[in-house]
Amino acid sequence: MTGLKVINPGMYSLIQDGGRQGFHNIGITTGGPFDRYSFGWANKLCNNLDYAACLEILVGGLVLESSISTQIAVTGADVPIKINAKSVAGWSTHNIAVGDRISIGYATAGCRSYLAVAGGIQCPLIFGSASTVKREKLGGLTKDGQALAQGDLIPCNTSQENTSRTVAQQYRPQFSQDTTEIRLILGYQYSQFDPSQLHLLFNNEYTISQQSDRMGYRLEGPAISYSQSEMLSEGICLGAIQITADGQPIILLCDRQTIGGYPKLGSVFSPDIDKLAQLMPGRKICFKAIDLKQAQVLLRQSAQ
């Protein structure tokens, strides 16, 4: 087998493709890339199919050694990238020769990078996807939800592709230390919350807690109270904002549980989930409502 050998898996690196769709009814979540925008560009740079399997690298520290000649591209967070001893640019394609070492350093802004390989990672599928979901023990190299480990071989095919591509600056995400505005579509049980509680949510900053991962981001800020006593579990869509008993919001993300019994205020607009993917615990966000019709128009425009 040929491909990329894992010399150092880094902090936490996962194989992700478009995710698992159509299995929520038996309790299987979506998984897939947290920052779909950067993931999409990594594949475009390598002339891959939209949802080819890539690596999602949390913070950094990943070192790979190639046994093939191919092309790679790294997008997402600002990370130092080296091919052997030479520093190379992000958001661009690079030719890789047999024996080359690819090193992804630690992120200086943002926190998740995506490494695509020409032709995509040739990973076995389970429930139609290679996406790694640790909690469900599904996906990844051995189909059982494992993150990359030292000594793993990431299967990839040789590629003759050598066209150089780069993403124009204007299409790359801008990272700043300021509070990030997150748009949300009001929905689910929001009308059962007192308007004063919605006012709290929209007029305060919330901090991303240390207990945050691909399943959900827990927030810390003014508590949102509600009187409803008991609720039956129901389907949870991507980005749903649930309010737990202590009044703190949790944004449910790509590895979320498929059903849950806490009241929800609505869901985050997906382009802003890409922004959340690049925010580490401790960073601050604020919420702004967006009308459903406007959200759908924006989604259609960005797909064109």
Binding site: Q21, G22, F23, H24, N25, I26, G27, I28, T30, I126, F127, E136, K137, L138, K143, I185, L186, G187, Y188, L232, S233, E234, G235, I236, C237, L238, G239, A240, Q257, T258, I259, G260, K264, G266, S267, V268, F269, S270, L292, K293, A295, Q296, L299, R300, A303
Partner: protein, 238 residues
């Protein structure tokens, strides 16, 4: 089920949630299962996912192919058409359970709580035909309701860090089988040797929402013959 009770609410940018009734019951579960099947047929590629649960159905759709108002109308049409048709009743499945102190570390406590004998608890658990109300928490985890009030009991104050695969538990008026080893807080009364979730099989789960389940007591020998293991049985006690 009257149409007036079905309420369609926005869930997110590409999802709506349909509420069918206030309280869960087997008829609501059948209506949800029928609606899900019809939507699948009528909208196929426009749908991304369907999440049936106790009284609701979350519909996730592709906004590039259908918008909110159109999907809302489609769902209303499907529900009004299905309300005058016979509902799918779901499959009837019998699951074997080895009820014992060995595999049911909470059996004694539950019997004391219910002021019943252990044999009564085991008999009552088998008397009900349960409906699969929802699936979630983990792949293949089916929430079955409702258990007889006499054997209902709240979850453990501190969940166990390891519950073995196949463990049969009770939480309030629900019962379930753990499809894989996981943490869990349900009161364990026995163990089922059947694989509730098998990713290498199609279908991967033994049951789906709307199905009816009965439990049947088996002996320790039968449990082992059917693939249940001593190891997993003894680990329930830890």
């Amino acid at each position: 089920m009257s149409l007036e009770l079905a309420k369609i609410t926005i869930a997110g940018e590409n999802s709506v949630i349909v509420y069918f009734s206030e309280r869960p019951c087997s008829r609501t579960s059948s209506l949800i299962a029928s609606t899900a099947k019809l939507l699948q047929t009528n909208l196929s590629d426009k749908l991304i996912d369907l999440v049936p649960s106790y009284t609701s159905l979350l519909v996730v759709y592709d906004v590039l192919l259908i918008d909110y108002l159109t999907i809302k109308t489609e769902i209303q049409t499907v529900i009004s058409n299905s309300s005058d048709k016979p509902l799918t009743t779901g499959n009837r499945i019998e699951l074997p359970v080895y009820y014992s102190l060995e595999t049911g570390p909470d059996l004694q406590r539950l019997a004391e709580h219910a002021k019943l004998t252990i044999d009564d608890v085991i008999a009552i658990h088998q008397q009900t035909e349960y409906t699969v109300y929802a699936m979630g928490f983990a792949p293949g985890f089916a929430y079955l309701g409702e258990t007889d009030e006499k054997i209902s009991m709240p979850r453990l104050a501190t969940p166990r860090t390891i519950v073995p695969r196949g463990a049969v538990g009770i939480a309030d008026r629900q019962t379930a089988i753990y499809p894989a080893e996981s943490p869990g807080g349900w009161n364990l009364i026995g163990q089922c040797p059947s694989l509730m979730f098998n990713p290498s099989k199609v279908p991967s789960t033994l049951v789906e929402v709307g199905d009816r389940v009965r439990f049947k007591a088996i002996s320790r020998d039968q449990f082992i013959q059917l693939g249940g293991t001593n190891n997993s049985a003894s680990s329930a006690i830890q």
